[in-house]
Symmetry: C2
Subunit: 337 residues, 2 copies
């Protein structure tokens, strides 16, 4: 599915605003450090997280709130890119967004520091929001949200790593983990937008819920695309999750629902660096046979629908922005990349 | 030199307050992640940076400011420990504070994430300062200071790494680098203390200058101890800086001042993983022969004296805290560990 029309217009406008903020503020010496930090940022990305910040700000607070949200949107995008750099080191991933990953180009030590730089720049951007007219107490709340998400993301990343070396993981554990690793930052993004638009805690809570659902649905789709996606679209090598033995919801559901012989066969095929393309294709076929892809996508779509319905309960000031948020909820579960 | 008397009393009291804050706030699941994050924190450390925050707050603002500074002091200590975890990965250091480093105990992936967690916890602590009665605009300024230091530390770390693979480094480059890598965080620590005590920009600027001088002097002493220190006191293996070919001020001064034959000999001895103890002893002797240790320590002591004299110009509310800050300036250049 290509980008829905209303969302598409907002995305390109927001990407420009956020990229321009990042270009202006993320600079310094030595040049190599900043080039390493901005390597993946420059390689592309849909800028979905900053769009969620800005769309919530606009939907609930109009164009003034939308403007004040720019630094917070940039903060979220910088933070996200920091996590990508470190995740790629940890997962030994060599390609992302169709380019070699940061540690492949700049070496691991520089990539560690480049990630740390973006982590710092994300928090620095929160302070810069004062220049955009944000009140100090709102900036302090935004700091709390980003720091809260940062803590959760570390926890999710640690769990994700720990799951790789054990079979003792349930689908529930998996959903909790991806909530931490992916959902929390999207939750914080939505909350930041609502925060800038309004101090009303019930709106912020509703936005959080939207972000949580969209975030988990997004990750389920990501895991689906990791097995059944087209590498020329996703920009990631095919089957790398299976090769590494990631316990995604697809794998966990399949192991629970396949007859034991086939489940054992699936276990024996995944999680081996040396597995052949044919073996991984067989694994993907076994997973499909279990009904896992349908189960996972049904679950993700239900979450996306619930997220969209949250918008019906909010006092919408800008209906186009709310429409884009509805489109975004569907898009994350229908996207091909 | 052991700890001076007034400083010593403050250090142990502050260490308790800051450690207790960290114990209460840095918790969560999975346990392994939090244990990895707190591994070096628990192993010891002098807690000099948090003491600088709290001493400045008390010296300029009395005990109320001192209390409000606790979360900021913890933020600085958490940030410092995050940098240690990542630096040890980058430098492949296996011991610190007399214990195996985080990545040696928990593996490199977990150590990367544990560092990221402490980085996040540092910023989260800034927000928590609101619970200690800090105003939101002061917390926002503290956020700016920590984020500014975080950016500088990344830059310094990147330069430090880049210097390892080139001889084209001057003593000036080195001093600029250690200002970024070590001085900036100590500068931010002093500034945070002054900020909590008073909104007066000239006091904050004076505190920054104290921190900058003490920070650079501290690092010069660190580099000195890396060659001439007693490993049983420093907790670090002897000569590891020489073995890795770190371009410290000692090495740079020696290369500039030794006759060319001896300078070439020195170059040939350092920066080789396989160098023998005897070769590194010879390198240390050549450096001493050049007068570098005396030059470096004279420079550091002058900085420490200048730092102490800054306190004479400030409106001191608590003279014991000011005395401890004077002692601290001398201590950083006279310490054996």
């Amino acid at each position: 599915m290509s980008l829905p029309p209303t969302l598409s217009k907002f995305l390109s406008r927001y990407a420009m605003a956020v990229d321009s903020f990042m270009r202006d503020h993320v600079r310094g010496m030595p040049e190599t450090l900043y080039k390493a930090g901005m390597h993946l940022v420059r390689a592309g990305g849909k800028r979905l997280r900053p769009a969620i910040v800005m769309l919530f700000a606009r939907a609930l607070g109009g164009v003034e709130a939308e403007y004040q949200a720019i630094p917070l949107a940039a903060a979220v995008e910088l933070f996200h890119n920091f996590t990508l750099i470190h995740d790629d080191i940890i997962d030994r991933d060599e390609y992302r967004r169709g380019v070699p990953t940061t540690h492949v180009v700049y070496g691991e030590p520089m990539a560690i520091v480049a990630g740390d730089l973006l982590h710092a720049e994300a928090f620095r951007a929160i302070y810069r929001a004062l220049d955009y007219g944000l009140e100090a107490d709102v900036a302090a709340r935004a700091l709390e949200l980003l720091a809260w998400a940062a803590k959760r993301v570390s926890e999710g990343q640690a769990l994700d790593m720990m799951f790789e070396s054990t079979w003792d993981v349930t689908a529930r554990d998996y959903l909790d983990m991806i909530y931490l690793k992916t959902g929390a930052l999207i939750e914080a993004s939505a909350a930041m937008g609502a925060l800038v638009a309004s101090g009303d805690e019930s709106y912020i809570e509703a936005a959080r819920q939207y972000g949580r659902l969209v975030g988990v649905a997004f990750q389920i789709r990501d895991d689906y695309l990791g097995v059944y996606g087209d590498p020329s679209k996703t920009g990631k090598p095919v089957y790398s999750d299976l090769r590494r033995g990631k316990k995604t919801i697809l794998v966990l559901y399949a192991l629970e629902h396949l007859p034991s012989e086939k489940a054992e066969r699936l276990k024996s095929l995944i999680g081996r660096e040396g597995a052949s393309e044919e073996e991984l294709e067989e694994a993907a076929a076994l997973i499909r046979e279990s009904g896992a892809p349908k189960y996972a996508m049904d679950l993700a779509m239900e979450m996306a629908r619930n997220a969209a319905s949250i918008l019906d309960e909010l006092p919408i000031e800008d209906s186009r922005a709310a429409e884009a948020l509805r489109e975004l909820a569907s898009f994350v579960v229908e996207r091909e990349k």
